[in-house]
């Protein structure tokens, strides 16, 4: 009996202990499983002052790791919006009359340059006397798109391609990163498989990662010199051009963008048009404005301002 009573009292005691265990351990397990589950989810961002670094006000943030094979984000010229306008021509070789910025023109290239009456650069013309296709709102084409009003540029990417959304003209380019070969230049366009495809304003681009943070982009198959210019200073480019871009993510918040022009029709040797041009990462919430060319607005501008401003001193404008 005693044993039996002891047993009974021991069983009660064991049941009490188990009840306590259930009360304490089960919720703990539940919470821990929730916690474990949460570790698989993206971390909830704390309430912070600095959206990019995640640092609280006054706290010095540790530099963020440089992501591998990733250019996604909204980028703008690191030294301010003025830096990307490149009004006097490509950033590394502006058309400013300095001997070190003279381009290696072929005779044909020099002739093409002289036929362009640019609004900017060493040989700039009055607004009423220019023949820049831009002022007819023609597509700028590539690479001029990168050399004119390079402002806030959004880059989106997946495993197949990187898409660049330029602010000026609301224009995009596709850079294929799926391993395809660069199309071969042939008469009348480019050869893709066995098919000849037409030239494009923004060409055909393929990109290859040469290390964790550097993408090399090759582009060919662009429009001819009768349709596009290289830059706002009137430098020419032809349908024989091959453009190489080296886009290096120098750190989490900066890109360095180098562009080399190889156009045997216009230039005797390849030359660098943008040299490690720095872009900085913007707040991902930033809404990029549109900047466009409207022929209606352009004609009004010419009528109201550019034409009378171009009248030689002493003559009447007819305004």
């Amino acid at each position: 009996m005693t044993d039996c009573r002891r047993d009974s009292s021991g069983r009660k005691s064991a049941l009490r202990t188990m009840r306590h265990l259930i009360i304490v351990v089960v919720p703990a397990l539940v919470f821990s499983s929730v916690a474990l589950g949460r570790t698989k989810q993206p971390q909830q961002a704390p309430v912070v002052k600095d959206r990019k670094s995640g640092a609280f006000k006054g706290q010095k943030a540790a530099p963020a790791a440089v992501p591998r094979h990733d250019l996604s984000g909204t980028w703008e010229p690191a030294n301010g919006p003025s830096e990307g306008i490149q009004i006097d021509g490509v950033k590394a070789m502006p058309n400013d009359g300095k001997p070190e910025h003279q381009l290696p023109y072929t005779p044909y290239g020099l002739q093409a340059y002289k036929s362009h009456h640019a609004l900017a650069g060493a040989d700039e013309n009055l607004p009423g006397f220019n023949n820049d296709p831009r002022d007819k709102c023609e597509p700028l084409g590539f690479p001029r798109m990168t050399f004119y009003n390079l402002r806030e540029t959004q880059m989106l990417q997946n495993e197949y391609k990187i898409v660049m959304l330029y602010e000026y003209g609301t224009v995009w380019r596709v850079i294929w990163t799926d391993g395809r070969e660069l199309p071969k230049l042939v008469d009348g366009g480019v050869l893709i498989g066995k098919e000849v495809k037409e030239p494009r304003y923004y060409g055909y681009s393929v990109g290859k990662w040469v290390n964790d943070t550097t993408l090399i982009v090759q582009t060919t198959g662009m429009m001819g010199e009768d349709r596009v210019w290289l830059d706002t200073a009137g430098r020419p480019i032809s349908d024989q051009v091959h453009v190489e871009e080296r886009i290096h993510r120098a750190d989490h918040d900066h890109l360095e963008w180098t562009v080399t022009i190889d156009d045997p029709k216009m230039y005797t040797k390849p030359w660098v048009a943008m040299d490690k041009f720095r872009m900085k990462l913007e707040d991902p919430h930033r809404d990029v404005m549109e900047q466009y060319c409207s022929l209606t607005e352009m004609e009004n501008y010419n009528k109201v301002f550019a034409s009378p401003a171009s009248v030689p001193t002493g003559q009447k404008s007819g305004r």
Binding site: I85, M298, Y301, F305
Partner: protein
């Protein structure tokens, strides 16, 4: 911060003319002079357009004769960067503007600043150094110029 804004205003509207090619559409040397004129007038149109925004105003001279002036700025994106907007100026506003007049002497030029009826001054950054303009843009981006 207020003193910084004042410094920008003084540099932009005052004597500094370290002008650099900031315009996104055309160069500077062909038709710009460093001749700054200050005009009081009535806005007839503020056109928020590309490739340049245009402010048109009627200015009455001492002789009572009205001269129609046109001032251009940069494009809407660039002007937004320095704190201007489509709604900032209205037809009928009495304003005081500073303009870099064109070489041929026509009543045209680049707007340096506009003093609005509410006492606020809009600064374009033209006629000032690149550093001044960049500082202005930085302040607008950070919302500290208001």
């Amino acid at each position: 911060m207020r003193s910084k804004v004042m410094a920008i205003l003084v540099l932009a509207v005052g004597g500094v003319t370290l002008s650099v090619p900031l315009f996104a559409h055309h160069g500077t040397a062909a038709f710009e002079t460093e001749k700054k004129v200050t005009l009081k007038g009535t806005v007839t149109e503020w056109l928020w357009s590309n490739p340049h925004c245009l402010l048109q105003l009627d200015v009455k001279g001492d002789d009572g004769k009205v001269v129609h002036w046109v001032g251009e700025t940069q494009n809407p994106v660039s002007m937004t960067n320095v704190g201007w907007s489509k709604a900032a100026i209205k037809s009928g506003d009495e304003v005081t503007v500073t303009i870099l007049q064109v070489k041929n002497g026509m009543p045209l030029g680049r707007l340096v600043s506009v003093l609005l009826p509410n006492g606020k001054t809009l600064i374009s950054g033209e006629g000032a150094s690149r550093e001044v303009r960049d500082e202005l843009e930085r302040q607008v981006r950070e919302g500290t110029s208001k």
